[in-house]
């Protein structure tokens, strides 16, 4: 094998920020696994993150020792479960820096959060000809719910173009905002490109035009400190499983005045005040939007994940991730035949690329044989692929537990793929 990574100057191995990555890695049992006879190199964090032991243990302990339905029974277990469940809402409020706890709604994930806003807020305000402004780099989950409600209300979905580097074209955005714009939906960090969007500025412009703003924070939540008040947005959505918690639970934050005006989305238990066949009155926030038995164990697990994140020094995490991504970008770019997709100045967590002569899926399979897990495909962002004239890319996405050595394993895998397809 003629692979040599020494041809590109290696970046210093010691990150300036003192993040103890090896002790962090020890918190995540799965990271010690072997895949295809090789140590697992998990670079698919934008799809889902791995879980620290405290999360796994919290879910196990809840199911083994505290399991009961919440907000119903008067018995011991139900009371314990309700207290534990409700406490997580407080943690989530702090995580988002939301003004009030009742503004945090537990949902199934980012997708459900956006569907909720589209179906409840969208349905009550949208009139024929109104416009929903999205960006070309949205994930399908921030496109399709709006298309559905547009179809039901006669509103129109428009997409703000993006530049070759993968930034939102802010000039075009300004020009597209207008009196017809009722809702702006924008992704905080693009899952396909890694671009960090200027959400605060975009929100200000949208508010000037009289539109409200929903931010899809699925990818931002693990990489940036989230502060909905500083962003100034009206809705913020994220998923528990992308912030080291379980699948099946996510957060929707919304402004009280909007949430109170919005009709319930789903009906059922827990979201009512009184029910009779003559009419039903609804529970106050947040219960109004939480029909049925929630994902209790998952919420408990999310609480453990938020607790885990809280004890990390997030400034060090960000500094480390920044250096890791810079190293990965430099190393991957140096492989002959590589085209990076998404080269915005402000990026986090994601390195998307194609390798000449090797389809992304073949690349994914070859990397997997080396123990390296990446995503290959359209990343549920087909308009992005179309924008760059691509069918698919390979995507390495990082978390704070990834190492510089793992980036090198990725690069070795890329050289191997070139050999196979030579």
């Amino acid at each position: 094998m003629t692979v040599s990574t020494a041809t590109t100057s290696p970046t210093p191995r010691l990150p300036a920020a003192a993040l103890d990555v090896s002790s962090i890695r020890a918190d995540f049992p799965i990271l010690a696994s072997m895949v295809n006879g090789k140590p697992l190199v998990y670079l698919d964090n934008a799809a889902t993150t791995q879980k620290p032991r405290v999360v796994i243990e919290a879910v196990r302990r809840f199911l083994a020792e505290e399991n009961a339905n919440v907000h119903r029974g008067v018995h011991y277990l139900s009371e314990r479960a309700s207290i534990a469940f409700d406490a997580v809402r407080g943690q989530a409020r702090a995580f988002l820096n939301a003004p009030a706890e009742h503004e945090v709604i537990f949902v199934r994930g980012t997708t459900e959060a956006i569907n909720l806003v589209a179906q409840s807020y969208g349905r009550s305000v949208l009139r024929p000809g109104d416009e929903i402004l999205l960006t070309t780099m949205e994930h399908h989950s921030n496109i399709v719910p709006w298309q559905l409600i547009a179809g039901q209300t006669g509103a129109v979905v428009r997409a703000v173009p993006i530049t070759d580097a993968g930034d939102v074209d802010l000039e075009a955005y300004r020009g597209m905002l207008g009196p017809k714009t009722k809702i702006v939906g924008v992704v905080h960090i693009s899952n396909a490109l890694g671009t960090i969007n200027p959400v605060a500025e975009m929100t200000r412009l949208a508010h000037d035009a009289g539109a409200i703003v929903l931010v899809d924070g699925a990818q931002a939540a693990p990489h940036l400190p989230i502060d909905v008040q500083a962003l100034g947005c009206d809705f913020y959505a994220c998923s528990g499983h992308k912030i080291f918690g379980p699948t099946g639970v996510g957060l929707l934050w919304g402004r009280t005045e909007l949430l109170e005006r919005m009709p319930p989305w789903q009906g059922g238990g827990d979201m009512i005040h009184t029910v009779s066949f003559a009419g039903t009155t609804f529970a106050p926030l947040p219960a109004k939007f939480e029909a049925g038995t929630p994902a209790i164990a998952e919420v408990i697990g999310l609480g453990a994940a938020l607790g885990y994140l809280r004890q990390l020094d997030f400034a060090s995490v960000q500094a480390y991730e920044h250096e890791l991504l810079a190293h990965a970008t430099e190393q991957v770019r140096a492989v002959p035949g590589i085209r990076l997709v998404g080269t915005a100045r402000n990026k986090a967590g994601v390195l998307s690329f194609t390798l000449e002569g090797v389809h992304a899926h073949d690349l994914g399979t070859i990397l997997d044989s080396e123990g390296v897990a990446v995503r290959a495909g359209h990343h549920c962002a087909q308009p992005v692929m179309e924008r760059f004239g691509l069918q698919a890319t390979a995507r390495a996405s990082f978390a704070f537990y990834n190492t510089f050595d793992e980036v090198d394993a990725l690069v070795r895998g890329l050289h191997r793929a070139r050999e196979v397809f030579a």
Partner: protein, 151 residues
């Protein structure tokens, strides 16, 4: 390279990926069908020109991974000259090969060059890549109006 990967990316597959055979359209009255794998975005079109019950010519165009392209390319050569029923039977045998359900060595051998795709059975998520062309061929033979999807 690990053994499995050797099995998957045999030289015949790499060759057909690089230089796909019958990689063009066929003029009418040849029929065609579109195939789509929504999971990965692979798309291809298969043309079939029949003479009575005989498949006179098959061609394809499209974008996809090495497995889907090589599978389509090998398919065009394999079904040429077969009767419609034989082509469909071959598609079924091929499906067994890539899902690891082919019984004996004789059946394996009957697949000829298509055996090169046997390694796919070790990679369950790649089975759809290999099957797409064959599903599309069946649709073209049946003159199905809707695009085929692997989902």
């Amino acid at each position: 390279m690990s053994r499995d990967l050797d099995e998957l990316y045999q030289s015949v597959i790499l060759d057909h990926n690089k230089s796909p055979r019958n990689f063009h359209e066929l003029p009418p009255p040849a029929r065609h069908a579109d195939g789509h794998n929504p999971l990965c975005g692979d798309r291809l079109t298969v043309w079939v020109d029949t003479d009575g019950d005989t498949v006179r010519e098959v061609a394809f165009l499209g974008n996809g991974c090495a497995i889907s392209k090589a599978s389509a390319s090998l398919m065009t050569a394999a079904v040429k000259g077969k009767s419609r029923a034989e082509a469909i039977a071959l598609a079924d045998e091929f499906q067994k090969l890539v899902t690891g359900r082919l019984e004996g060595a004789a059946e394996r051998k009957a697949l000829g060059k298509l055996q090169a795709l046997g390694g796919v059975s070790e990679f369950p998520i790649r089975v759809k890549c290999a099957s797409l062309a064959w599903h599309t061929l069946k649709a073209a033979l049946a003159n199905a109006p809707e695009p085929v999807s692997t989902e």
